[in-house]
Subunit: 186 residues, 2 copies
DNA sequence: TTAAGGGGAGACCAATCGGTCTACTCTATG
DNA sequence: CATAGAGTAGACCGATTGGTCTCCCCTTAA
């Protein structure tokens, strides 16, 4: 593993578990055994490292989620598979995402305001919603695809938040049941 | 306004907008014009001040929410009023809660791990869920009151998260529509 | 064999962190 | 009037922050 990747992985783990401002550069160096000069050779600043971490997490998460959804089929099937994937995540059955500690982008977003980080977090969420919407065209629902995608996103965000702070590990199952209702023919 | 209250209000505003670790004691003092000695006369540490801030926000939020729900009626009416209240919050129509910047407890929780703060945040969420559940006994639904309260909480958390990071200010309306479906007779 | 150069270890820097302390003022009560 | 308590200003403390720089080793090529 290259030094930059090593730093990104370690930084993500520490940021995710302890918060971004709470973790100093020296802690990351100590954890990885990398020299300070090497870090600043590859990244201009802590902020630059953080941006790389956000990009890394965005790719890892999106790759995992899209793979899970596509594997389940198309349309409604893919969307409902999202909640099964979340359930696995909450129960720490997804190694590549590390032990569940909530949504990294929610946490990162909360530590900054009017900052590049906020834009990156918002974009990550928008990408997910857009992917959901892409799987919804032509589905039976009372809602238009765009509104339906937003509602699904509300359920997704709610499940993550509820599982994290309240420790309700079944939140994904509840959210899935509500998602099913959105597709009801009536 | 007493000095402690002044400090708590200012600290909350700064923590809420910028994150907790990102705001130093000196910044709070500068903003309030209070002397450092006075702060440490009333609070043992920054952590103690933070705890007071969390208690303050918990009370403010719960008082506002319960009042809004009770004013709307009982049972299902009260629960659905929750989402109307959220909608007002998202649109900055609730002065006492300050301009909407997401859930303070979610943000605070994300900046700590294995810390008193986490317990306080979890308790705040539990209090809300318990209050919701108390309004649900005897309501018509496919779900038991406890499960129904958890599902409503998922919708509530999702609406807040979605409104905050994605900037979807209509998230409360979407969540309300899904909540209505939970009470469907079928 | 030797010279050159890139990267690693970590000493070092100014700034800031949370927190303490001294010296002084104001106000309210006995 | 005297005294006590709450307040202010801000110097000061050690620790830690993000970031720079120097020294040295180790590889590589002539």
């Amino acid at each position: 593993m290259t030094k930059p990747d090593l730093l990104i992985h370690a930084a993500f783990k520490l940021f995710y578990e302890n918060g971004i401002h709470a973790v100093g550069i020296n802690r990351i160096l100590q954890e990885t055994g990398v020299a300070k000069k090497t870090l600043y050779h590859h990244f201009a600043s802590k902020e630059a490292l953080l941006e790389a971490v956000l990009v890394y997490r965005d790719q890892t998460f999106m790759d995992w989620l899209t793979a899970r959804m596509m594997a389940a089929g198309e349309g409604k099937l893919a969307v409902l598979a999202l909640f099964d994937a979340l359930d696995d995540w909450f129960h720490d059955r997804v190694e590549v995402l590390l032990p569940f500690k909530g949504c990294f982008f929610m946490k990162a977003n909360g530590e900054f305001s009017d900052h590049i980080v906020n834009g990156l977090c918002q974009r990550h969420k928008q990408n997910i919603t857009a992917f959901i919407q892409a799987n919804l065209v032509g589905q039976v629902s009372k809602l238009a695809p765009a509104d339906l995608a937003q509602s699904i996103s509300v359920l997704k965000e709610g499940a993550i938040a509820q599982a994290y702070v309240a420790g309700d590990l079944n939140a994904a199952k509840r959210a899935k049941a509500m998602a099913v209702a959105l597709f009801a023919e009536e």
